[in-house]
């Protein structure tokens, strides 16, 4: 009988003393690799994938435009919209928006402004072409179509 009793005394606890260390490590990882949300994005953002990516080095020179179907169709309808900062804008407002972005930069760097277009996969080329035309009028001619990295080269 005693033979069997001994076996039941094996400890079955997971050691938890190192738990805070593990969690703090995760916390620091996320603090270092991520950045605070500046805008809450109100359009669908299923970003397309590509392989030939280039990286923008200076974040201060980048202005973001988001294009896609609104995430709240009952409020804003189903047509794809352009979002800049925290508001929806019309194509005719883009020139003014670019000038605002340029005004934030030092005078010497104003022509280096890059517009990053974050466009949903489903969005149509027509709307984006309209945006591009306005950007040309506003003389903001450096453009980046934001994409995700496609790990496999399957073209």
């Amino acid at each position: 009988m005693s033979k069997f009793k001994k076996k039941t005394e094996v400890k079955q606890e997971i050691p938890t003393s190192s738990m805070p260390d593990v969690v703090f490590m995760l916390l620091f990882f996320f603090m270092v690799t991520t950045e605070l949300r500046e805008t809450s994005i109100e359009v669908k953002q299923q970003i397309p994938k590509a392989t030939q990516l280039r990286k923008l080095m200076r974040k201060s020179l980048v202005a973001n435009l988001y294009v896609g179907e609104p995430t709240k169709p009952q409020l804003y309808g189903k047509e794809p919209k352009i979002q800049a900062d925290d508001v929806f804008i019309d194509t005719k407002d883009i020139v003014r928006w670019v000038n605002e972005q340029k005004a934030k930069l030092d005078e010497i760097e104003r022509d280096q402004l890059t517009v990053a277009l974050k466009v949903d996969e489903e969005a149509k080329r027509g709307l984006i072409a309209d945006v591009e035309l306005e950007l040309r009028k506003a003389n903001a001619r450096k453009l980046l179509y934001t994409t995700l990295e496609n790990p496999k080269d399957d073209n």
Binding site: T16, M19, P20, V23, F24, L26, L27, F30, M31, T33, T34, E35, L36, R37, I47, P48, K49, A50, T51, Q52, L53, R54, K55, L56, M57, K59, V62, E79, T114, A116, V119, D120, E121, E122, A123, K124, R125, G126, L127, I128, A129, E132, L133, L135, R136, K137, N139, R141, K142, L143, L144, Y145, T146, T147, L148, E149, N155
Partner: protein, 186 residues
């Protein structure tokens, strides 16, 4: 009498750390500053419309219609696995094949979409076209494609600029993205 050892209770440390972790997970995003970079042409009114004669042989035409179907050099096409190599061969033809380009400086890849073309398809094709050019540049500069793109992203470093200029020498990035046609879409 045994002295009471002063201790901070640390049983709740894990909970506090989890709370902080959750806060950061919710309020932050992964930055994404990467993508396909292009330069737009000057504003339409600044450039008077002129009739530029480009020989047919110096144009590599890629068209996409509103249902995302492809027309390459006038031929409908579904399989695009060989397209990159075709563009490379076209740009680097240097007059060997009389039906292909004269030289890399004259060679133009013309890319035309419709207003109804999806952005996904547009990016897919633009990726292939730019990939062909980056491959050519990288080979001329004697580095890998990835290394070349990395160098092109930051030209403030002299080594990078040297690679970039060596790769680009004599081969301009002639990708013409035309105004979309108005068959489909809004």
């Amino acid at each position: 009498m045994a002295r009471a050892t002063p201790e901070i209770p640390n049983a709740s440390m894990a909970d506090i750390a989890f709370l902080l972790l959750t806060f950061f997970l919710v309020t932050t995003t992964m930055p994404n500053n990467r993508g396909l970079s292009i330069a737009l042409p000057p504003p339409p009114e600044a450039t008077p419309p002129e009739d530029i004669k480009i020989q047919e042989r110096n144009m590599f035409k890629i068209q996409i219609n509103s249902s995302d179907a492809l027309l390459i050099e006038g031929e409908p096409r579904e399989d695009i696995s060989t397209l990159k190599d075709e563009i490379k061969a076209f740009v680097l033809n240097n007059g060997r094949d009389p039906s292909s380009s004269d030289n890399p400086e004259k060679a133009i890849v013309s890319f035309k979409t419709d207003r109804g073309t999806s952005h996904k398809r547009f990016i897919q094709l633009l990726d292939i076209i730019q990939g062909a050019y980056y491959d050519i540049y990288a080979e001329q500069a004697g580095v890998t494609n990835e290394k070349f793109r990395e160098a092109a992203s930051d030209l403030s470093i002299p080594d990078n600029r040297a690679i970039y200029e060596k790769g680009r020498a004599g081969i301009p990035l002639n990708i013409s993205i035309a105004d979309p046609t108005k068959v489909g879409g809004n």
